[in-house]
């Protein structure tokens, strides 16, 4: 039997170069925007409560609105991302600790209500007690709202997300703080914006440090964070974060213009970071080498270990 081979050889490393895992079907911009809005809203709730406690009414109002509006828009983005949006209430059908999306829905739902109530009360001046109480509730839920989204991405087989599960929550906490601080700097008069600037700067520091550690530790699987479009997004975000954070610290106290510009840079950076991380993940899902190589490495190491113990 003689036969001419008609097709290219299947590469020994993969099945005709096809991806092994499925690329996420999550939509852009919905999901990366949701990551950003959750961070902004969650950290803003903390900022608002601090402002309330220390009697900074302008800062409190701006941060309460950021928390309420961020959560509301985030909910819209999340529902819009569903491929069967009319069934969004099924998200609250069960509570499963193994599913960050389930846990997150149970955080987002009460947070949205509470932060909306707090924002409405703060803007209208109506029912101040109820508003304040709602604000306290939102403050408790805010930090987990800002960080659970890291587990949402990490609890998948997507190599660049899963392997980053230790650092991503800190990147997201920092990114949420820079966004909340930055947003408040945009709309708060200088004499009340001090905490917003400090939150922005501290968030920037945490975010930059965590992102640095992430790419350093991940090796091959971290590659997509530095390449192509996600790489450009991450680099731009890094520069904006660093410049915004420094400017706010150095000159933000004296100049409203600097404060506003630094705030805008940091809000933009937070958006770009989320898109960068999202797209780095999808890129790592598309290329089978990020799935196959580390797994092979694991098998090799295990075989070597076995050989060593047997040899003894």
């Amino acid at each position: 039997m003689r036969e001419q081979r008609m097709v290219p050889e299947a590469s020994p490393d993969s099945y005709y170069g096809r991806p092994i895992i499925k690329e996420p079907t999550w939509k852009t911009p919905d999901v990366p925007l949701y990551l950003f809005l959750g961070g902004l809203a969650g950290a803003s709730a903390v900022l608002a409560e601090g402002a309330a406690v220390t009697d900074r009414p302008d800062l409190e109002r701006v941060a309460r609105v950021a928390a309420g509006a961020g959560a509301a828009l985030g909910t819209v983005a999340l529902v819009h991302d569903l491929h069967r949006p009319e069934r969004f209430l099924n998200m609250l059908r069960v509570l499963k600790p193994t599913s960050p999306l389930s846990v997150g829905s149970w955080i987002l739902a009460p947070f949205s209500g509470l932060s909306a109530a707090a924002a409405a009360s703060s803007v209208t001046g109506r029912l101040p007690r109820v508003g304040r109480l709602a604000g306290v509730g939102a403050t408790v839920l805010g930090p987990p709202l800002a960080t659970y989204t890291a587990a949402l991405l990490a609890n998948t087989a997507v190599p660049a997300w899963h392997e980053a599960h230790r650092e991503l929550p800190f990147v997201f906490a920092g990114s949420g703080a820079t966004a909340a601080g930055g947003f408040a700097c945009l709309f708060t008069p200088l004499d009340q914006a001090g905490p917003a600037r400090r939150m922005l700067a501290a968030g920037a520091l945490v975010e930059l440090a965590a992102a640095e550690r992430l790419t350093g530790r991940l090796g091959l699987v971290g590659e997509p964070y530095g390449q192509g479009r996600p790489g450009r997004l991450m680099r731009t975000a890094r520069v904006l974060t660093a410049v915004g954070g420094t400017a706010a610290l150095v000159a933000g106290r004296r100049s409203r213009t600097v404060s506003v510009l630094a705030g805008a840079a940091c809000v933009a950076a937070s958006v770009l970071t989320r898109f960068g991380i999202f797209e780095a993940g999808t890129a790592s899902a598309r290329d089978p080498k990020y799935t196959v190589e580390p797994q092979r490495e694991r098998l090799r190491a295990r075989a070597a270990e076995r050989a060593r113990t047997l040899g003894r």
């Binding site: 099945y15 079907t25 069967r84 599913s99 389930s102 906490a173 501290a202 968030g203 899902a285």
Partner: protein
């Protein structure tokens, strides 16, 4: 409960809350006898009313199905390899084909053919959802749409799925997907409707070479072990079981395979791990980061007034 998230777990259905339940059922796909006829793909489509999955040519091989997906629950991979990489030609003992067992086997090709630049070896393999012991798709599903049946299999309830898509990137094998135009997630059900009636799943029923075998998982694992021994005795050096080990990263597959080459050659991950194995670490880091955010917030209000 111990080992609910990873590690060996014998009673999957019991762990999921089924009290009195039938034994765990599964598939053993012996790719050494697969002839690539795609009867399984067709039978599955017909029985489960799975719609067409795009009538396109991949242009890369004789395989125009490409991969498992929302509308492809069995996928026959066609791997074309130059001989040399492969083990030597062997009579793989395909049931129902060739001479009776007591006749001397004729000399000649097994799965190999010759061409101008040398020989070609064909590897065919019918892939399917693995019905993992620790199924990431099920773990991450926020609606409870994905559930563990009394047979230990993993099934989507289409009346509950809201198309959130979380199961899609969670599966370490790239099995489940959202069906475009419909919006819900679909995958192999191990013919939940048929096995409930004591019938064999459509693909296994249709397979002419018994490459797809259906039965109690414990028994299938024994059978697979014997088959592997046979092949190794015959000198088929690439032969190995895939997904049969309860100690692997997903606690063993309910649908496992006998392969003739590395898993990645067939488009399978070489050492898949269920993502929820790291769940504890993930939540701990999320908690610590949330704490850091609180601390950072408090610190922002210390110090000077403006």
């Amino acid at each position: 409960m111990s080992n609910s998230l990873s590690g060996p777990l014998h009673d999957v259905a019991g762990d999921a809350g089924h009290e009195a339940h039938p034994p765990r059922m599964g598939f053993f796909t012996d790719t050494s006898v697969c002839i690539g006829c795609k009867a399984c793909e067709v039978a599955c489509k017909e029985w489960n009313l799975v719609p067409e999955d795009g009538l396109s040519l991949t242009g890369m091989s004789y395989d125009n199905t490409g991969a498992l997906g929302a509308s492809t629950w069995r996928h026959v991979a066609f791997v074309e390899q130059p001989i040399g990489r492969a083990s030597r030609s062997t009579d793989l003992g395909m049931p129902g084909m060739g001479p009776p067992p007591d006749a001397t086997p004729p000399a000649g090709p097994g799965q190999e053919t010759e061409s101008g630049e040398g020989g070609v070896r064909w590897l065919m393999s019918s892939d399917v959802c693995k019905h993992c012991t620790h199924a990431a798709c099920l773990d991450v599903c926020p609606t409870g749409s994905l559930f563990r049946t009394e047979f230990g299999t993993v099934v989507v309830q289409e009346d509950i799925c809201n198309g959130c898509g979380y199961c899609v990137p969670a599966c370490p094998y790239g099995v489940i997907d959202i069906r475009p135009g419909d919006g819900r997630a679909f995958k192999c059900t191990l013919c939940y409707d048929r096995i409930g009636e004591g019938m064999t799943p459509a693909c296994a029923q249709a397979c002419p070479t018994e490459s797809i075998q259906y039965g109690e998982l414990d028994e299938l694992r024994e059978r697979a072990g014997r088959r592997l021994g046979e092949l190794q005795e015959q000198g088929v050096d690439g032969a190995r079981l895939y997904g049969a080990d309860p100690d692997d990263g997903v606690g063993g597959d309910g649908a496992f395979f006998l392969l003739l080459d590395e898993p990645e050659v067939y488009g399978l991950p070489p050492d898949p791990v269920v993502t929820t194995r790291d769940l504890g670490s993930m939540w701990r880091h999320v908690g610590a980061a949330a704490g850091a955010l609180v601390g950072l917030g408090v610190a922002s209000f210390l110090g000077r007034r403006r």
